[in-house]
């Protein structure tokens, strides 16, 4: 039965991708160190790319590896290293009593319901969208044609979205210029600031200054160590 309806290599590739995906996902959740979680995430992303190749979505597999493993996970790792939050989290402590059993029960109900829905198999509509048929021998061409004709407006909108994201990230992450107090700054500054500054400007400003000094001291100490080490 198995050999007649589907070929053995396909089944092996599916099992391999499923193992990689699920073990990586479990690793993301249970690793105490965020760096280990990020590395497990790379495993999951590569497994998903393998599943894409198995389903003849070659361009998406390449984009998955380039965008996710190449850019997003690197961004995660960069932030982890930059902030120095790679110390381990105490997973055994449960701040809310009964929080975890409730969460796992809720997710179990959702997963069970979805699998029951798949088993019922009532999701086939059979109606084609406007995008056109999927051509397995030329998936890059078909996808490119769909993106640049049918979905052209959405494509332009994503370009705008990326620009907005870049501007927002710069505004959020940049430091306030020296010599200008936070309340009187005319520039937009970090988007989260103004409302809170109006309420309690002085304590937060001093907090931030202390944090900056602390960070600066740590950085300075690190540099000293590097100079002393050799």
């Amino acid at each position: 039965m198995l050999a007649t309806t589907r070929t053995i290599p396909d089944v092996l590739v599916f099992i391999a991708s499923a193992l990689i995906i699920l073990s990586g996902a479990v690793g993301v959740v249970i690793c105490k160190n965020p760096v280990h979680s990020a590395l497990s995430l790379i495993g999951t992303l590569l497994g998903v790319a393998l599943a894409f190749v198995e389903q003849q979505a070659h361009f998406l597999a390449a984009a998955q590896i380039i965008v996710y493993a190449g850019a997003i996970v690197i961004l995660f790792l960069f932030v982890i290293m930059f902030l120095g939050v790679d110390r381990e989290e105490k997973i055994s402590v449960e701040p809310l009593v009964g929080h975890r059993p409730l969460a796992i029960t809720a997710v179990g109900v959702i997963v069970g319901g979805l699998i029951a829905l798949i088993a019922a198999g009532g999701w086939y509509s059979g109606a084609h969208s406007v995008a056109g048929p999927n051509d397995p021998s030329n998936d890059v061409g078909a996808l490119g044609k769909a993106v640049f004709t049918t979905y052209l407006f959405a494509f332009e909108a994503t370009a705008l979205l990326l620009i907005i994201a870049v501007v927002g990230a710069v505004l959020l992450a940049r430091r306030q210029p020296e010599g200008r107090s936070r309340e009187s700054a005319a520039s937009p500054g970090p988007a989260l600031d103004p409302a809170q500054d109006a309420v309690d400007a002085a304590p937060i400003a001093s907090d931030a200054d202390q944090t900056d000094e602390r960070l600066g001291d740590e950085l300075g100490q690190d540099q000293d160590h590097e100079e002393v080490a050799p």
């Binding site: 999951t44 389903q55 939050v85 796992i104 999927n134 998936d139 927002g168 989260l192 900056d212």
Partner: protein
């Protein structure tokens, strides 16, 4: 290519469940972001599977847009994390409780 769609859909559901569990039980903001990425990936896997089964390239185009949105979301989200960390010196969500009424 001859794998039935339901196998991939079940795999996608399991991946989504693991991601949702991690998002609910972890308290490190960065790990919670990674769990969101897991859920996005499970949706992508389901989209590609439906694209193959229904012979419609629209599913693959949707995955392409999801990739872009995920990149933008991570950029802004990590910017917010850096901004909060500068102020609170912590990346644990329980420490950010200033907005509670």
């Amino acid at each position: 290519m001859t794998i039935p769609a339901s196998w991939y859909l079940v795999l996608s559901v399991l991946l989504f469940g693991i991601g949702a569990t991690g998002f609910l039980i972890r308290r490190n903001v960065l790990v919670m972001f990674m769990c969101i990425e897991l859920m996005l990936n499970s949706a992508n896997l389901a989209f590609v599977t439906f694209s193959r089964v229904l012979d419609d390239v629209g599913g693959q185009a949707t995955v392409f847009f999801v990739l872009v949105v995920a990149a933008a979301e991570v950029t802004v989200g990590l910017g917010i994390v850096v901004s909060i960390f500068r102020r609170r010196n912590s990346a644990i969500v329980d420490d950010v409780h200033e907005m509670k009424g």
